[in-house]
Amino acid sequence: MTEPEFEPPYLFPDYRATQLRAPRRELVRLPDEWFHQRRGPAFGRIPVKPGDADLTRQHPGEPLGERIILTGRVLDSDARPVRHTLVEVWQANAAGRYVDPVDTHPAPLDPNFTGAGRCLTDDDGVYRFVTVKPGAYPWRNHANAWRPAHVHFSLFGSQMASRLVTQMYFPGDPLMPFDPILNSIADARGRDLLVARFDPETTEPEWALAYRWDIVLRGRDATPSES
């Protein structure tokens, strides 16, 4: 059973870019049994090097910003760990600027920070990145629009149905109530699933704050959601 109200709709006019990009015709519903026959992509060609999970050590110097550990478990919706699956992350630097040339926000680039990482989950489904906390940044969706700080996540899982691209947010961010991308999820419990929690146990003294965020991919009992 899927809870559709926890997923965003395709068309959400407050997020302007959906208006010409959301499909308007009815989507085809696959029979449930087909839904699970569709094996997920073989992502093995995407290279993962051991250093790829530490975004603070990809350059000669250390990036500016608040150093953080970002960790959690990847589970399927039957609560079993999703082992050895690829997790890709990308984010803005501490000043709220992406290294991507498409980003024109006049905040400084950091020569010691790219902001992209990859890792595979371990035998318990655990992923772990070291990075810096991303900054908020403006966008042109509406007057004085700012994105809350977030980290983009991309995950594969074992079937087509488990593919997930999403964003993780930080607890207590005052911009969250104003963000149409997050608020496209109608149910507050769904939005809460995208917010990490501060993790004092994993925080390393004199070194880095830790945030914990578990991710649930759709598992064997998932069915297409009505939308």
């Binding site: 010409l20 989507l27 939308s227």
Partner: protein, 150 residues
């Protein structure tokens, strides 16, 4: 059952993170049986979508390609009856899923195509073009591609 983590848009700034070496080539161009597939992604105003990223897969084949300023993408694959296609873009709060059928395979009895209205089936079938195959994706509009519920 645990509630699955909701989707959010891939946003516009993935171009420094999602590409990888030979990402668009599930098999090496020029290798035995390799076929090139090209296409463009269009929005509801028939404008090219320059900031989408597509993934196609079939069994062991997987490829990823970002669109360029003309909304164009390309893949190199070994022929298969069809490929699962996922589309990610700014403005797509969830990704879109569709299928791309290869025209010379036997399509008449395909159970998925049978589920689709006749007039829209063509949106799922690549066409022969110079040097390979062509497959355009229309996110919206009269030519809207048939998408699959996730």
């Amino acid at each position: 059952m645990t509630i699955p983590t909701p989707s959010q848009t891939v946003g516009p700034f993935f171009g420094f993170a999602m590409p990888f070496e030979d990402d668009a080539h599930a098999v090496a161009p020029g290798s035995d049986g390799a076929v090139r597939i090209e296409g463009q992604v269009f929005d509801g105003a028939r404008e090219p979508v320059p900031d989408a990223v597509l993934e196609i897969s079939d069994g062991d084949q997987f490829a990823r390609c970002g669109t360029d300023r003309e909304g164009a993408f390309h893949f190199t694959v070994r022929k298969a009856p069809y490929f699962e296609v996922l589309v990610f873009a700014r403005g797509l709060l969830r990704h879109l899923a569709t299928r791309m059928y290869i025209p010379d395979s036997s399509l008449a009895g395909d159970p998925f195509l049978q589920m689709v209205e006749k007039e829209r089936r063509h949106t799922l079938i690549a066409s022969a073009s110079e040097g390979g195959l062509r497959f355009d994706i229309h996110l919206q509009g009269d030519q809207e591609t048939v998408f699959i519920q996730l």
